[in-house]
Symmetry: C2
Subunit: 548 residues, 2 copies
């Protein structure tokens, strides 16, 4: 079994409590993930005792396994912690090409939950899904001046097709505004064809130099919405509507209290007139741009001649928007909620919302415990709850506790022989460690357990959001001078202050502090303000932060 | 409005009945799509009469519009008919790069219906979705000998990334067996990690020379399942299970009576030990390979060293499968069921199952008709039926009838003033033209209309399948000699006959008749057989046909 010891498969991590301390590199101390629920002697002997005939060897073969899978504590090295969690929770793996990522089933299931919610919202707001080809003639990219400037350094180019050198290089889409406009030009003729509102779920490629799983990869998955309108007001309304959809999604589904606002000119999307963004504070207090919505004005319609005949018979260029959320958001969830025990998933996006762990010592107890566990599973499942019963006999309950905590499952139900006798279960919350998060004696009666679990899932959902809000608000500093800004940034915090200075000043801040303007938040204080940099009047406060 | 006349937007085709005959090319006579429901004088004056104040100009401006959108009859030119239907039903459009396709919302909605069904089936059969990167190092493709031979002529290669020439060319995935095995090798260690069963929904690229929307495009969308097993029996069982899932899908959802069977060695997937296929007969009697499932044996696991430690501690290579269905299937639906009036969709895959067309002459009737139409819509929608109310005032009912027939909507509900008085509706079936498919006096009472519509949808679903079965069976000829085979093929039919001849003989048939072995069907006659080519005993019959 030696081969299975060193690898991140389901069968090879978190085992017996005999910890060994190992080092990954001289700099980073790695320690064994501490089981919060000590494995009692009774538990550790369970699997062999409970094995059906013929499985002894198999179970025995597992027991002396690896202690070498450890998670770096968040406080020691946030980046190492992040990568460890992705590895141990089996969210993703590195692809063979530098900077690419394989999204593993558990990570992909989170993305599917994101898709499920957003897809419905997009349709409710009048958008249809469709699909544009990913190969774009190179000449298209060059048509919109700031677009080519923004994207040409990070293009992947197909130059050979079917064994032959191509006459025109093809760009593997980094985003689709150009090809979308090429098609819109053919479909839009009169004001009756407007608004045209579409979305696609697709892969995109950007040749990034510094990559990080989910956050920045050479290829990633996203949705990109594209709309065309008959006037600028409608386009603006649409761009705002979609950043609002994203904001609600972040708060209500992902429990991420993003700050929504407008990007500075410097940070605006290449080709957009205005970019709206949702900015999230990660556990290390760096900002993550988690979704954007662009008012493209007539920039692409002018470049591609996308015109319509208005109600007065005049030809006009359409006004457009585009907006996107990507698999990067999964990284945002990990870095917002996770802790040293691993992932912590908001119930509304969790692929498994409740895990049931049956516990027994004696063979005579097994049947009753498993029957009770199964019936609770059936009750919860038919109530629409995503529930998993971990009845494998290869692992101890303690191992399972740790494993499902690492996977971020919001609630755990434990059922032992005493619970069966009293017709009740024990429910533990992932977000409250130890005994405080554990409630004994919840009745197994279907209406009771169903209502209890639903209520607890809602509580976990709210509690994750509240915690993230406190963390965010405790780490934003109001500043009124550049010195205060520098001070806040050097403490790792976000600085919020009035800003009306130049693009050059903005770049200077970036050079000197590493922080950029994340956004001018939609929510603005009402007082009269003076620019923190220049002292002249400022209409708005901006938020500065270091970012991913 | 001149610009909007020549284009495939919703507002510009099928208008007044004054037909003009036009020619697309000297060879192909194109004629106006004949409205089956003549637009009466009453209907044709409706839109202006019913217009709210201020819309007269808009409506008036539409009336004298184009007669230039016509569909080639299927019998005149099947290929032209196919392309016309794709265009007129707004299923797809050509992308800017040769051979690429834009899937428009209505076409994409059919693909989404396919995805919805299959995605559930894949999960029910134990598979998880995930995502592999699309860029594959060129060296990977070369590792499996027959795989590289099969795929290297049609590869798209990325040679430049981030402005620099790459050290190793990257293949844009034509299929993912190689990268899947690269990853499986890292994830699989012991028999406990098996079976490993995953699927991805993704785009793939094959540099095809002759392309055709949906059927064969440079880039297409598909799902590809990949599994690894501990023994050959399990892999075989899985490959068979998945071709069975596809077969059921084709029959029960798409109403396409595919013939499932095994590919000949010549036609087996590059890298597979055995390929199973579902073959569908299109309206022109050519065969369409509509889905495949491969038993890969140990071909890829040997090439990539994908091994596991078995229960006896021995290292073994895994046994694998892969299986796929693509957007080509949408082409299969069009070419199986469509007729001269356009698309005809099986209810279970139709994005719109029922369209409601309100009809009124006088303004005084309008409110009552629209109220009734809305209430029927609400009833059907809450019964889970995909219903659309076409209450636009820019078009006559006759125009709408033609339009929604072109879109293949299975049922149409007409509601006029007389229907409102009698609290009833008229229901027309897409699959039965004219008065025969029309039933008057169906009560609007919610339980009645709901039950009636559900029953009719089921009937349309069955009737499409039955019709396709008759067509298929009327066009398969049992042959016992090569002359008979040639005769059947030259008549455009499928030839079924005993076959045990060589690969060379098979290639000779292809050269001389244009037909290939589509499959050795799973359903075989019981009699003793002699090979149609050689006269020696043959275990199986094969089906020969020309194909897409």
């Amino acid at each position: 079994m030696a081969a299975s010891l060193r690898l991140p498969s389901l069968t090879s991590f978190f085992t017996s409590p005999s910890a060994t301390i190992r080092r990954r590199s001289p700099a980073v101390l790695r320690w064994r993930h501490r089981p919060r629920y000590p494995l009692t002697a009774a538990f550790s002997s369970q699997s062999a005792a409970a094995s059906p005939p013929g499985t002894e060897e198999r179970v025995a073969g597992k027991k002396p396994q690896s202690d070498d899978r450890v998670v770096t504590p968040r406080s020691v090295d946030f980046n190492a912690w992040y990568l460890d969690v992705i590895d141990h929770a089996e969210l993703a793996d590195y692809g063979p090409v530098r900077g690419t990522m394989v999204i593993r089933p558990y990570g992909y299931a989170i993305w599917e939950a994101i898709q499920e919610y957003l897809n419905v919202k997009f349709k409710e707001t009048g958008h249809s899904n469709m699909y544009f080809p990913q190969f774009i003639p190179y000449s298209f990219i060059e048509k919109e001046a700031s677009h080519v400037e923004g994207f040409s350094p990070e293009l992947a180019l197909v130059t050979i097709g079917g064994g032959k050198e191509l006459e025109e290089k093809l760009v593997v889409r980094p985003t689709s505004e150009t090809i979308v406009n090429h098609m819109f030009t053919q479909w839009i003729h009169s004001y009756r064809d407007l608004p045209l509102m579409v979305n696609q779920w697709a892969n995109v490629t950007r040749w990034e130099m510094r990559t990080k799983p989910f956050v920045r990869t050479l290829e990633f998955l996203w949705q990109e919405g594209h709309t065309a309108h008959a006037n600028p007001e409608e386009a603006e309304k649409e761009a705002m509507q979609m950043i609002d959809v994203y904001t609600k999604f972040a708060y209500e589904q992902a429990a991420i209290p993003v700050i929504a606002g407008r990007k500075s000119k410097v940070e605006t999307f290449a080709g957009a007139s205005r970019t709206y963004t949702i900015e999230a504070m990660m556990g290390d207090r760096k900002a993550l741009q988690a979704g954007t919505s662009h008012n493209l004005g007539q920039n692409f319609s002018r470049a591609f001649g996308t015109q319509f005949t208005d109600e007065n018979g005049q030809r006009q260029h359409v006004w457009q928007t585009s907006w996107a959320i990507s698999t990067r958001f999964v990284g945002g969830i990990i870095m917002t909620h996770g802790d040293d025990a691993g992932l912590m998933l908001p119930p509304r996006l969790a692929p498994v919302q409740v895990v049931i762990v049956p516990i027994w010592k004696k063979d005579s107890e097994k049947q009753g415990v498993l029957a009770a566990a199964s019936s609770v599973k059936v009750v919860l499942k038919s109530a629409g709850i995503k529930v998993q019963l971990d009845d494998s006999e290869q692992r101890t309950p303690g191992w399972k506790f740790n494993f499902w905590e690492m996977k971020g499952v919001p609630l755990r139900i434990e059922i032992g022989p005493r619970d069966v006798s009293s017709n009740s279960v024990v429910v533990s919350r992932r977000d409250i460690p130890g005994k405080q998060g554990k409630v004994f004696g919840i009745s197994m009666e279907p209406p009771v357990i169903e209502a209890y679990v639903k209520e607890k899932l809602d509580e976990v959902q709210s509690s994750l959001l509240e915690r993230a809000i406190s963390f965010r608000d405790g780490n934003i500093v109001d500043v009124s001078s550049y010195d205060e800004l520098k001070d806040a940034i050097s403490q790792g915090k976000w600085a919020r202050g009035p800003w009306s200075a130049s693009d050059q000043d903005e770049l200077k801040v970036k050079e000197e502090t590493g922080a950029t303007i994340r956004c001018f938040p939609f929510e603005q204080p009402e007082e009269v303000k003076t620019c923190l940099m220049t002292g002249i009047p400022a209409k708005e406060v901006a938020i500065f932060a270091k970012s991913y």
